[in-house]
Symmetry: C2
Subunit: 185 residues, 2 copies
């Protein structure tokens, strides 16, 4: 069943899941156990799967990310919005969040942190560098998964004040932008 | 009239306009003229108005930002989505984009680049640092403006493939998140 849900897609497609600025569920593995944290501070740095992620020692997962230099950026759809917020309110220090929130996982292909099956997409990343002055991880995507059967694939955007918006009306400016679109997107 | 539209708000509120990951119109002043570029790669770095913005020499405005170390992050609502895309398709090298697209400007308070009056919000920023390896500007907000009379305040999110989503359904998890909300938001 798991194999039928998440399907691998090309690396360049990672951009289309992360550029919109969605709330993320970031999984890590610290050498002993998996964990997940909720983060909304990320952005692309190029068209080839390089991303920035901002976090700090207040997140229990931070130590695992620094140590193992791997994570999976999982993009929840609107069906997981409330769960993502709940995940952000407890700590992996004393809670097995994956079990507590009933998140279905499956092994990733290139990193040891897990994929979250019910997300819209999962981007396996290696951390190339950490800039402590800004809590900034420079990540390189190494494998990208898409879930074509996600029950509600609307991305969720954190406002920062406890409210969130799901994607609404879609605008298609592909024709207008044709000259500048990255190849293959 | 202009004074009635954009009103100053506290610095911490910048986060609520930028954390959702919206498409941005970034204004600059190169010492001679104003310019504007469309960028969707940005994110918060803290709760006190520090942000990261990713761009490069392919944007004509890049030189002005490096030289003057100032810009305004203007957040267009859905009414400006198509205009923002059009702005991204021409260059300030040979086009006065503010005039061509009929963008109403007004002077900023702390920087020389202009505010765009028809946006949802404008965040005046100073560039603290540039990290050439990643085309990354570290920006510090110095003044924030909100436009309560924006005709369509839905933020716009670039997918990266020529399509865009406006903010749709709103979720309010303020009660659930109360213990973690930054003061005053």
């Amino acid at each position: 069943m798991a194999e039928r849900r998440m399907k691998p897609v090309k690396l360049e497609k990672a951009l289309t899941f992360l550029e919109p600025g969605p709330l993320l569920l970031v999984t890590t593995f610290d050498g002993k156990k998996n964990n997940v944290m909720t983060i909304s501070w990320s952005m692309p740095l190029d068209f080839d799967g390089r991303f920035a992620l901002c976090t700090g020692p207040w997140n229990y997962s931070f130590a695992a990310l620094r140590k193992r230099k791997e994570c999976v950026l999982c993009v929840p759809g609107a069906n997981l919005a409330k769960t993502a917020v709940q995940i952000g309110m407890v700590s992996g220090a004393d809670t097995d969040k994956l079990a507590r929130f009933g998140l279905k996982t499956r092994p990733a292909a290139c990193v040891q942190a897990p994929l979250l099956e019910d997300c819209v997409a999962c981007v396996e990343c290696r951390a190339e560098r950490f800039l402590p002055a800004y809590g900034l991880f420079i990540l390189q995507a190494v494998k990208v998964w898409e879930n074509p059967s996600c029950p509600d694939p609307r991305l969720v955007h954190a406002v920062g004040d406890g409210t969130f918006y799901a994607d609404g009306e879609k605008f298609n400016f592909r024709r207008l932008m044709r000259a500048k679109l990255p190849p293959g997107l």
